[in-house]
Amino acid sequence: MPDCFHTALTEKLPNLRRFALSLCRSAHVADDLVQITVERALVARKSFDPASRIEFWLFRILRNAWIDMVRKQKVRGQELDIHEAPDLGGEDSHRGETRLMVATVLAAVDQLPLEQREVVVLVCFEELSYAEAADILNIPKGTIMSRLSRARTAIASKTGIK
């Protein structure tokens, strides 16, 4: 019998991976983060409230995993491998005029500082509210708003939206 929890996890893999990529900008670190997230979610599944949105819960697990990872790397004196080309949009998304705009927007997102990038991904890509994003990132809603407005202004100038 299919396990609803497993199904929900599997369905959210692309979203988790995109959020992971926005944090670490490395495909293989992102894959590790997604795997850690799934493992932690399975262990903690009893703490998941089925009435709430699973992605919200998963994003928080993923972000905590990322913080852990960064902390560990610092302790070990190692740098995360972030030299791979970041790819928030996938290989196939760069064709045609709309595709070009999509690629331009994604490139602009990619150039944002991490603190703005993660807010953009949660609010504009994953369509969470400011309050939900604030909860996941553990910062005040006002900070979400100032980071997001700065990010959007930067994106607009890079993509010529103005």
Partner: protein
């Protein structure tokens, strides 16, 4: 009176994103009427929201290596013995045979009356015992006759005026044929039950009383969840396909 609200980027963005309370949103709108620069700012935020949304529609594909790793993690997790008990995501719409449930039934389950392993249905096999408390409805002898012949998905009107909907057939861990059905008495509650063919007798394993409330509105389906939990912990396989079911029913007669 002058509107003193300062039109910060954050406020304008929240307006463009529809995340401002009505009163504040009206303030932004009023201020924008006479302020082309503000109008342009609003456009900047609505445009970026749209562009980002369009970009978000194309999720980067999950690499096969990751997908495989995750699916093997999930497979291992599914093999854990305490797996079923862990499951706190009960989603009725994804129920195995959800599409085979009569629509009215899903809306009407109100009370579980429990497992009745000892009772026999109808005239087949052994001495006929008094129906146990709460299972009087299942004393209708035609239930057993219908269960032995009718295909799943069929609906039969019995002599008593009751309707019997056969929902699905499946086998338990011992390869015993079991059938899930819904019995709607002419007046009174409906019963959802699973009966298994043991010693030439249909024996109900679980029965759940369902009734339409008077307003015809949806009742909490928690009892249906109880049935689902019971099914998922009782070692039943998937519902039999029509051909297999026909074969198994032929053996019953």
């Amino acid at each position: 009176m002058m509107d003193e609200t300062k039109m910060t980027d954050e406020l304008i963005m929240a307006y463009a994103d529809g995340q401002l309370p009505d009163a504040e949103a009206r303030k932004v709108e009023r201020a924008a009427l006479a302020d082309p620069a503000l109008q342009e700012k609003i456009r900047l935020f609505t445009d970026t929201a749209q562009q980002l949304k369009a970009a978000a529609a194309e999720l980067p594909p999950v690499p096969d290596s990751l997908a495989q790793k995750i699916s093997s993690i999930l497979e291992k997790d599914a093999e854990k013995p305490d797996h079923v008990e862990q499951d706190n995501v009960v989603q009725l719409p994804q129920r195995r045979w959800a599409n085979q449930w009569p629509a009215a039934l899903a809306a009407s389950i109100t009370l579980a009356i429990g497992v009745a392993a000892g009772a026999a249905l109808g005239p087949f096999g052994g001495p006929q015992t008094e129906p146990p408390f709460g299972l009087a409805a299942l004393a209708d002898p035609e239930i057993a006759v219908t269960l032995s012949g009718a295909a799943s998905g069929s609906s039969s009107v019995l002599g008593s005026g009751a309707t019997l909907n056969v929902i699905a057939s499946f086998v338990d861990a011992d390869n015993t044929l079991c059938r899930e059905f819904d019995y709607e008495a002419a007046n009174g509650p409906s019963i959802v039950s699973v009966a298994c063919r043991v010693n030439d007798t249909w024996r109900p394993k679980i029965a759940i009383a369902a009734s339409h409330d008077q307003a015809g509105t949806f009742a909490p389906a928690s009892s249906l969840e109880a049935l689902e939990t019971w099914l998922s912990t009782s070692g039943f396989g998937d519902a039999l396909d029509p051909a297999t079911e026909k074969q198994r029913l032929a053996d019953v007669d």
